[in-house]
């Protein structure tokens, strides 16, 4: 087990290095004149040249990359070129916001999807058909459209929630709920659809297994069979889908955070990338890649705990 974790950590580190190198060079390919973008159209050519020099943009590209890498290895990711904020601070404060949305959406979608999936798989008939149609619809409607509709109806027309902004959980729980409920709802819908379909399929498969018949013949209640035995077996594939959805939700957060003006990493990613704020974008790339590596590792461990057959050691 320990060797497995160690191997995953080492491969994760290699992955981070490769991703950071590719990202750095890609950023430069589409970069353009960053100093001009920082200073705007009114700055003179001399001012722009001086700014380029100050940021080290007049050095050869490999040298710039090495100097960034040297800092990054020592935990110094520099400061944003557009706001002066240290990259580490910018990311940690925003990651917490995004994670509260993404984890919230994952929990909500997991619970609802399991309930719907099991319901459809055990009841079948019209309930099953309705659940299937609804989940296809949920999958088909774009997240941003759902987000916009939710804002217009629940925040602006009914004034039940805040249309934009974010209130920290530590400041006020009710305030936090009023700012995250709609984004979580918008994020969850697509994800619920995907997981529901998976849970439904897995549960139907598991219900056909011999051990279920044996358990039934031993007189166990159907609820006990489904929740104690079937779900545990059907959980593996659903968990794999959940992991993919979790990472997908990070992508979904980009749009949802824009619509709700939430200061998360999705929102800042869009701004920083379009501006060419290289230190901040690089920090975001590393943070997101590390998160994906960690989530995948955790899911692998969870799979092992759920299903002894996939344990490695």
């Amino acid at each position: 087990m320990f060797t497995f974790i160690l191997r995953r950590i080492v491969s994760g580190a290699v992955l981070l290095f490769v991703i950071s190198t590719v990202a750095y060079f890609l950023l430069y390919l589409g970069g353009g004149d960053i100093a001009r973008r920082i200073l705007g159209q009114s700055a003179t050519a001399a001012t722009v040249a001086q700014k380029s020099h100050e940021l080290g943009l007049d050095r050869p590209l490999p040298l710039q990359y090495l100097s960034w890498l040297g800092g990054a290895v020592h935990g110094d990711f520099g400061s944003s070129w557009f706001t002066g904020e240290p990259v580490a601070t910018a990311i940690t404060s925003r990651l917490a916001v995004t994670l509260s949305l993404v984890i919230g959406a994952t929990v909500v979608s997991a619970i609802i999807a399991v309930v719907l999936g099991v319901w459809a798989a055990t009841k079948r008939g019209w309930i099953d058909r309705v659940v299937q149609v609804v989940s296809i619809l949920g999958f088909a409607i774009p997240g941003f459209l759902i987000a916009l509709a939710l804002v217009l109806y629940f925040a602006i027309a009914l004034k039940l929630f805040q249309p934009t902004g974010y209130i920290d959980l530590g400041t006020s729980i009710t305030g936090w709920l009023s700012t995250v409920t709609l984004p979580i709802a918008a994020l969850s819908i697509g994800s619920i659809a995907g997981i529901t379909a998976q849970v439904r399929g897995s549960v139907i498969d598991a219900l056909r297994q011999d051990y279920v018949r044996t358990l039934r013949s031993r007189g166990l209640s159907s609820r006990r069979i489904v929740f104690k035995h079937v779900l545990r077996n059907a959980g593996g594939p659903a968990l794999a889908v959940l992991a993919v959805q979790f990472i997908g939700l990070l992508g979904g957060a980009v749009i949802v955070e824009q619509i709700f003006a939430i200061p998360g990493i999705g929102n800042v990613s869009v701004t920083a990338t379009s501006q060419g704020d290289i230190p901040l974008v690089m920090g975001l790339v590393i943070a997101t890649a590390a998160l994906v590596v960690i989530v995948n590792l955790l899911i692998d461990l969870l799979q092992g705990w759920l299903n002894p057959k996939v344990r490695l050691s």
Binding site: T44, E85, S172, S178, I259, A261, G276
Partner: protein, 509 residues
Amino acid sequence: MFRWKRLAAAAVVVALGLTGCSANTGTSGTSSTGATLNLGVLVPATSFAAAGMSWANEAPYGQAVYDGLVRANPDGTIVPWLATSWSYNADKTVLTMKLRTDVKFTDGTAFDASVAAQNLLRFRDGTAANKSFLVNVADAKASDASTLVITLKAPDPSMLTYLSQAPGLEESPKAFGSATEKTVPVGSGPYILDQAHTVVGSTYTFTKNPKYWAPKDQHYAKLVYKVFGSSTALLNALKGGQLNAANTYDNSTLTQIKAAGYTVLPLELNWTGFLLLDRDGTVAKALSDVRVRQAINYAFDTKALLKTIGQGYGTPTTQIFPVNSPGYDKSLDSYYSYDPAKAKQLMSDAGYANGFTLSTPIAPAFFGTAVYTLIKQELGAIGITVKETDPGNNFIADLLAPKYPAALMVLQEDPTAWQLANFALTDAATFNPYHVKDATVAALVAKIQTGSQADADQATKDLNTYIVKQAWFAPWYRQQSSFVVDKNTTTTVQQGNAFPYLWNFQPKG
């Protein structure tokens, strides 16, 4: 059997949601008491270091935490602030300013002439976007604690206007060069940045400076600036009543904003049109002929372009000087009226009866695509074939490199003639990338620089007329910028600036 449990769970979720919201409507609603001013802004602060600050949409950041040497009234008139009086020597190369002596920075350091001199020189030598404003400053010294002497290499008629903007902001000398200078401002201004409630790039909170020397200008106990990266989020925040006032991205949302109870304060800050940069014909020989440039002016149907591209918000014009400039002449708004036949005749007179090819960069991400179709059509109608290139993020850099002889652009209308000349007309101007020299322009600009007020005003008028007749540009219209305020807030738009000045915001009633 478990239905009641599910119902109960659903009820709890709904109740939680509702309590969350109802508890919050009190704080999210628009404030009318002057307790908090919620401002919607379009950009974060590039830097909070006084020597690196930007202006325009970033002005409210600097004005919250710093005092300026002088202030500009909404009409642009310069009035005293930290400098109580000032005077120039005879040849306008030495500006002497008397400064207040009762001002302290929030770290307890006293403000004096030596601090003011250091701030000026730091701005001149820094990398702020407008550092070139101080290019004429040879030196700044304190002759005594309350007297600042600024020596200029050459007269600069806009110096006082510059000192009312970023170059005049005063930062505590103890903060100079500190590790947190860009994010933690130390000034003497009416408000202090509340870092605990600030998320850089998204939300900036400022609290009242309890020891401010001019408390009459602190109209609010707290300021909250919310940065909106998209027009949709800004519109939703306005519709939800989360903002007292905001700058807007585009005029297409104004109807909805008005319906939400906001008042629109219009202001014309920029002009949209075609830049005819290569007037010497370095790469596009045809543009060196004034008749061709005039033909291009006649080829554009400015009224139709305003309607379709500018959604009708603005005024058609063929001049680049703003309405409040002494150089402004109403008749120049329609000097070239849409006349393709006349345009064709001018092309033929210039020897281009068969037209020519004009290479131009496009920026569909900024201007959309419809406008480029119209340009192709209208120039095509007089025989000019437009060859488009999309330089992506490098649009402005390539334009100023210079890589293109002409381009569609939105340019600012600077508040003073001297600024406008240095921005777009003189041979060293940023938006004269081919460095086209013109003796008439040089002579008129020299008069603006060194002449008496009356002479300078006349020279500005002559300069504007000359530029229009020589067709240096092909302007279409001055587009309306729209600042919006709710029913509890008043402010006055600032001539030449995208954001009203902070001290002009007041709670109504």
